[in-house]
Point group: D3
Chain length 290, copies 6
């Protein structure tokens, strides 16, 4: 394909998204492979230059576990749920804010734009309260487990993001919230991205992970487009399982609260972000209204 | 070349020109072939969307002659210079402002941006006085010829262009000036483009015509880059002749008054504008300082 | 009357209209007699200086016909309606935008203010679709006639006018619209003025033509004031006929969509515009609510 | 003269002064005859509406004396100079700020604009220090006389005036200053007007009093125009005497510090202000550079 | 108490009132004792510096009477109500605007902030009409008494106050209104303060007088807090009498029209204003919703 | 001391510093004792509310060492200088940005203001290059030691701080810079604070550490005030030693580049920040020009 044809193909999309706000969730894999991160960030910087307001939200689970082990702290799980005691929280925060977040911001600088790292306490962006106990099955008996310093978001104050977008920065958000007393709480990055997209009245929420999109029951193909209703049905009928559930739920939450479309795409393939946004056939699953 | 690679190659140029002002002279050929105009305007619209302030200046010689003949008015030339009487001026103005300019603005609308047609009297953009007589050789005797309603630009008031750029319109300028009493005068479009680039403190002046760039003496190759001094020398030593002289002179004038670089490229090849601006090897001649 | 008394008489009107928007339709006669145009434009410039936002909309029927003939193109009429084929449209556009509109802008410059010529495609001001066929009686049989490139306005985007007014320019609008594909269509100037007055939420619409105002059935006197209801009745009962109908209908349309008053005055008498606006007894017909 | 001709004659002046700042000193006579004040204020309101920034400065000597007598306080003069003790200052301030100034502001309201009364302490507009003693001849012996609470202006802070002009109010300034400790001091109104015109970089200073302008030595005619040098000479050679000296000196001070022209006109004749500004032949004396 | 503890105690209040608007009525006693005025103004200046928008409204009854007597004019009362003839109005205006108001503005300057004196005619702040006659009992027979130039406020135009607050001035309002013809009318200062608080959508109205607050029936204690309902009841059951009635009524009026709380505090005790606003236990009576 | 007297004493200082910018270096001790941090942050929040633009810069040496040990990484020193290898840098960054910085921002939220954590890569705030090798004495032989990932600041881009201050946030800066390729480098916090104060044209630089100020040679008293020259002399003559040298040098650097005064005060004593700024006798050493 000729250079000029590519740019021409991109043009209607550039026009459509110009001045719009897009929230992008960067999944854990982009966090551990610098090359994958680099191409994602290049795409993000290009989006910024063609006039799109981009907000990044990142996770970091795998790296937190790794650092905990390096510090001789054993991660604790009950029925598959991580228990976040205060020592774990401190490590999580250092890794998320001091390493992953900072690294993304430096990467943005490397590719020629200005990022600003934002934690949930900056400008009181994310206010949460402790999620409390959860009922799980342990050895076939139901049990109440206190997840510790894990938070449910109760308020999003998007002003700090709006102020930064107005001045053309790319905000990079770490999934750490504070409670009303200023204590840090760990929040799910998919959920945070969805809540932020809603608070910013974003046009799109994009979940950039390591899978190609939403797949059908026997994993033979990826849906290119799903309506809100179809996606809902896929959760209800058990087609969607595992880690895809929170991703898809945050997408549906966003769509149900005013976001126009949500995308689940594979960040491991180079420039998938650009291809999904700027070409006639996207590369992942797009979920939309009706 | 893969789509994403094209976009990546464009990125550093998009960053470099973001927020800059570029004045583009659209040559006569773009005016007579709608398809050529279409690809030029598509490029211009894309430039606008990636944050570049574009001002278009167009000519229209061939079409003026054609309309004059359709109206039974014979164009008058002395020693190759067109004599512009008031009837000729009226036709020229109708063609330039009412046909060519308006057509370009409609083309911009067709490709999704907002243009505004501007004549030299709009906001007093171009103030000129009659160029007066010129000494020419007729039948081997030197003779004074009054060119009629042809103007030398004496003042450029760029505020109307700045006001429109600030609001993200694409101004399209017809080469018609007014004198201090409000009478219209025909001005050379290359010269007008150069003067406007200077008044706007533009970053670039691009002359989009039907030749590939500045060629060497025996027309065997096109220079890719020329310094101001080299270009000056090519005029002095007679390498440059004919219609290329005013094009190059307006480029040199602009460079000598603060514009950073000037380009002469072939508008007949599709998307040459994008390729010159957004690829590592341009497609025409770039003239620059030192 | 002493100078100072004139200024004092004008004062309450200056105060009342300060900061308000007035749309003035300049009729065809002002277009062919430069002296009439001059006094109208002097008035308009004064209005601008006393803080009134003025938008001019002009017609140009007679001059289009004249130029068509000069170009050997015979105007075609069916049952009194002009058929606008593409050649006619091209001439109309050249005359309206390249001659009449440009001339008005130069006249504004001559009297010391800054005008900007605007065609319906500038900033997508006037979007229209082909009016289609009309049923007319030809030789006593009803017949469908395609009027050709004549447009019905379907959308007015007044932002370009608002942007120019905000910066204190006087916009001068030619009655040429574009369709969704960027093709030019001829629109009625009275209608365009009415639509623009509504889109700008103007205070007044003034129709400056060559008649003294709305006259009674036996043409013995001009009404000084008419309510919307009275004017409606004059149309219904057949008192109003001919070219006055579209003028009055655009006034009534404007009044029915939020404009506060509409005036029909004679532009052939010097400074009638000022006298209508700035003296206790106006000079034409004012149509108002209740 | 016909109404429309008056307005046309005014137009070039309206254009010239549009957006400019004019400081007008209202003399004592305008203060005691409500009808004279009314026509002056009507003129001022008209100036405001045609886009001129007007600042009024008023005096009030005669009325102060009158009120002092009403309050049983005998004005004290030494060699013709008023001695301002603290009781006199209190009365002066009440009359200037509470009566004259307030009355002017109400008059502005009556004619349809918004005035704001300003004393020298509002926004620290006028900072002064006690003028101290003056050497006068009493009974043929030279004597030092302390004038009391009379101030020499040492600093003008025009921000409050600029803030009000920006919002289109007409500021009305009473000639009362404060010293660095917040005590009130009486200042000469002519001097205050000159200082304010300089601080505001005004275009004009107009002294509206009860004389027709600067007269020649034998009082046979009024000068229509004087250069700065000619006016200087008239003071030096003794042509100018009495109360005209401070008026002329404040004019010269203003011209020497950047104001473009100064006018001395008779406010007793109705609308002289408009006639001086808006007609080809003024009505008083204009002093200008070179 | 240690310095730092005082500042820490003040902090939550500073935070709460930051950016809010507070209207403060300065009672007559502050007007006659310069030391009391000084501490009140110091407090006001501090409030301005911690980001609170303060508007002062002052009265001046006692001083008006005093000046009238000094000018040999006997105040006239019928059944305890002052009859304001035009001579009385002139003196009142001179004292209120030219003496008291000006003195407060100078005091603000002395303590390092910028005040601007405002009368009801400045920017048409307070428009009133004559209150007309009142029925009073004279010698046991009911009689209609015309109070003269006393006004009932019918319109408040707060723009001049908003414009000054936006530029960080402290407006000082004298209780003089104008009618539609520009004549001055005396208005009650408590009422004016309440009306202004409502027009500005103020957060608080504070009445600073010479009593400690609202007292119980047998004058044994001051209420610290009262709900709107409780305060209403105290008026209905006759607990509140005399001069406290208009103070309390203006508070209730303000609360009923959107002001959040009203305070009645003793201005004779130094810095009571700060203590009421910035300490945990206030010093007067606060009236609030529910 | 009475509450109101404290507030009055603070007033002139509040006025003086209103709208000014102050950069505060928070020393390591404030980082390890939450109670000390709390009182410092309370002071900072109060400064913000009284209209001062505060930027915090923090260090973190002790805690970095502690975390390194927790992660089984032995800090390496040569001749007392820390060698920062890439693993050390990663830990430093996590502690500085993810723990200390985040904790300060949460503390600001707890006391009612909005902080935003900023690392040197946010908005490209701090650009540095590797400091390179240093010559040290090891076992009496001179040796070149590569300090590793330690940076010398070469460029400060204060726009992100200005943007945040303009919107009334409190920026909290971690002493981590990036090089031109986006790699993180450790920079000295005292130096960073000085550079930032200069780039922001700050009014004051305050170094809040655990010592009372600059002491005389025999440590018997703390200087209350020092001129730039006197402080220079104290370094030259060896009075100043150890950790005080970088603190004082960053102060002198700031003063020599436009900052008006620098303070070294003890942050361990509660509210020393307020006492230094808002009381007549400060609590530490102030260094100033001449």
């Amino acid at each position: 394909m000729k250079r000029e044809d590519v740019l021409m193909e991109a043009m209607p999309y550039i026009q459509r998204f110009h001045g719009k706000t897009i929230v992008i969730k960067l999944g854990g894999h982009a966090m551990v492979d610098q090359k994958i991160l680099d191409t994602a960030i290049q795409d993000v910087v290009l989006l910024r230059y063609v006039g799109i307001n981009v907000v990044l939200v990142h996770g970091g689970g795998p790296e937190i576990t790794e650092k905990m082990e390096a510090m001789g702290k054993k991660p604790k799980f009950v029925a598959g749920l991580r228990i976040t005691d205060s020592e774990t929280m401190e490590i999580a925060q250092m890794v998320l804010v001091g390493k992953i977040n900072d690294n993304i911001v430096s990467d943005i600088a490397k590719f020629g734009a200005l990022g600003v790292g934002i934690s949930g306490n900056d400008g009181n962006l994310l206010i949460a309260h402790k999620a409390g106990t959860k009922t799980v099955m342990v050895d076939e008996t139901s049990q109440e487990v206190d997840l510790g310093l894990v938070g449910d978001i109760e308020e999003v104050n998007p002003r700090i993001l709006e102020d930064l977008l107005e001045k053309h920065y790319i905000p990079v958000v770490a999934p750490v919230a504070i409670d009303r007393k200023g204590h840090s709480l760990n929040v799910n990055a998919d959920t945070a991205a969805g809540e932020i997209a809603v608070a910013l009245k974003a046009d799109k929420l994009i979940n950039l992970s390591d899978i190609d999109g939403v797949m059908n029951a026997n994993r033979t193909r990826t849906y290119q487009r799903l309506t809100l209703q179809e996606a809902d049905a896929l959760i209800s009928d058990g087609t969607i399982v595992g880690g895809m559930i929170p991703k898809l739920e945050s997408c549906l939450y966003a769509l149900n609260h005013g976001v126009r479309s949500a995308h689940i795409i594979n960040g491991n393939r180079e420039h998938n972000l650009l291809l999904e946004l700027f070409t006639d056939n996207g590369v992942g699953t797009m979920i939309h209204h009706i």
